[in-house]
């Protein structure tokens, strides 16, 4: 559970705006003047209709997407930007690499490296980026694999694993860099229904261990049971932000009620 007596802000999104060019030379706004603070140990679930900007928001935090305006601080520092005369100047990918290590990221499509074994996938970044000795990295990797229940798959290639197993390896791979925050981008959306549980179980364990997590998800039950805070996004804005009880039982905006009704109608999980 979160450390209530240490409410340090770990991630700070201040008035961020992001748009993408469309085919007819207009710009599609996916994040509109959005602000959000995440405290240490908090588990925040971000839900909302598709196209509401959830994933883009997550990808902006570790600068897989660049911002149009606004600022994002991770532990008080910019990731991929530096301050020049009061504005954020974009840094090169090379300069950004180091700063990204505080953020672990788990993707919808797993994105495991298919040419490497499970073990090699996990020790790749620690050995290449941090120069950790192979033996030491392997030891840590096997501990992480035990945590996600896949010790026996250390020598398998990703292509030999089920989707749920691959995603658990992806979580272990992100954890191997010892991140301060874990970002989950719809981690169960690409999985067969019967494999969702095993991934959510690993994420629940992680939340219980005190990890700060931002989870973009459609799993209402997970949001209800595991999240400290639920954020609902719609049309590039946050329309609801509160505890699961507040958001699910007493939503403030009619749009939230509409969304929740639609979701509970379709998958019966809310």
């Amino acid at each position: 559970m979160p450390e209530v007596n240490n409410p340090e802000t770990v991630i700070e999104l201040k008035r961020i705006t992001k748009s993408f060019p469309t085919k007819n030379f207009e710009r599609l706004v996916v994040l509109d003047d959005m602000s959000l603070n995440i405290k240490r140990g908090e588990v925040v679930c971000v839900i909302g209709p598709s196209g509401s900007g959830k994933s883009t928001m997550l990808r902006c935090i570790n600068r897989l997407e660049t911002l149009d305006s606004g600022e994002i601080r991770v532990l008080g520092e910019y990731v991929g930007y530096k301050e020049v005369n009061g504005s954020m100047e974009l840094l090169s990918e090379k300069a950004t690499a180091q700063q990204r290590q505080r953020l672990g990221m788990v993707f919808q499509q797993f994105n495991l490296f298919p040419h490497l074994t499970v073990l090699q996938n996990i020790i790749e970044a620690p050995t290449v980026v941090n120069g950790v000795h192979r033996k030491e990295a392997t030891k840590v990797a096997l501990e992480l694999l035990a945590k996600v229940g896949l010790t026996s798959k250390a020598d398998a290639y990703p292509g030999e694993l089920s989707g749920g197993q691959q995603q658990r390896v992806a979580i272990a791979r992100a954890l191997a860099m010892n991140p301060e925050v874990m970002l989950f981008d719809e981690p169960t959306s690409a999985l067969d229904p019967e494999l969702v549980g095993e991934v959510l179980r690993v994420m629940t364990d992680l939340a219980k261990a005190g990890m700060t997590m931002i989870v973009v998800t459609h799993e209402m039950q997970f949001a209800r049971e595991v999240a400290d805070r639920v954020v609902i996004m719609d049309k590039a804005k946050i329309i609801e932000d509160g505890t699961p009880e507040e958001v699910f039982e007493n939503p403030r905006s009619p749009r939230t009620r509409e969304f929740l009704a639609r979701v509970s109608g379709t998958n019966g999980k809310a």
């Binding site: 570790n62 897989l64 990918e93 090379k94 950004t96 690499a97 180091q98 990204r100 290590q101 953020l103 672990g104 990221m105 993707f107 499509q109 994105n111 495991l112 490296f113 298919p114 040419h115 490497l116 074994t117 073990l119 790749e124 970044a125 290449v128 980026v129 033996k135 392997t138 030891k139 096997l142 035990a146 945590k147 229940g149 896949l150 010790t151 026996s152 798959k153 250390a154 020598d155 398998a156 290639y157 990703p158 292509g159 030999e160 197993q165 992806a170 791979r173 992100a174 860099m177 095993e198 179980r201």
Partner: protein, 313 residues
Amino acid sequence: MPSNLAPDIAPAPAVVIPRNIKQIVLSAFVILVALAILVSIFGNERFGWRVIGAYLFSTIILSGIANTLLLTLICMIAGTLLGAVIALMKLSASPPLQWIATVYTWIFRGVPLLVLLLFFFNLAALFPQLELGMPGSPPLITLNANEIISPFTAAFLALSLHESAYMAEIIRSGIVAVAKGQSEAAHALGMKPLKVTQRIIFPQAMRLIVPPTANQVITMLKSTSLVSVLALSDLLYSAQIVYSQNYQVIPLLAVATIWYLVLVSILTWIQSRVERVFNRGYGEKRRSHKKVSQRPSNESKNQPAINEEEANA
């Protein structure tokens, strides 16, 4: 109404695959035709099997093979390196570099190899002096084109440049085909761009680049026979030298043919081995050879993951 799960007492009917008579007849016919062809080849005196035997391992033919292999090797290496540069230019964000690469591939893929060979051989007629230096200032190096353009350099230049245009396309498409999520995942782990390319993109692109490249090697080996028009003593020209003296045209062409087939067969075998190496992690399920030393030895490798989860819970 009987339950679907009730045991069926009657034995299940066996499936019989009928013998395909047509296949058998066709096979027999093919074997007969093949035998007839073999008899006509090996029974034909005019093939000159004794002459073939006498020249198959002769010094002149073997040195021709050496030249053919040397030319194949260095032109392939030069063509691949140059092709990689062209591919990276084409993938770069800079429009001028993209234009250069596009025009380059357009020219060297468009001009037939034989024309290219003759062009380079006659380069001296076009540029008698090759000068290296800044425009407007006296040249740093001046070379006499007649002296440096030997049959060998002409062949090397033409084959390498021709090859590089093809290799550029192969390498470019290999790199482009690696999923975007791969570099995103690597970047998200804090890897620097160079490491992402080296360790994540390149090994995966190699899997797509190697098979067509091996094909290019085989094509290159055969294309080198064109250099015989420049009187460069490769395998074919060596055979031609011999038959111009002893008039045993067919036996010596047969000698060259046999060697080309042998060399291509060896390359094909190597190709299949190399492909297997680069297909790691993609093929059918297989056991890994590497063992992890720190893993507890009593653990069963094929234990289902779900059991572990329960043990952990």
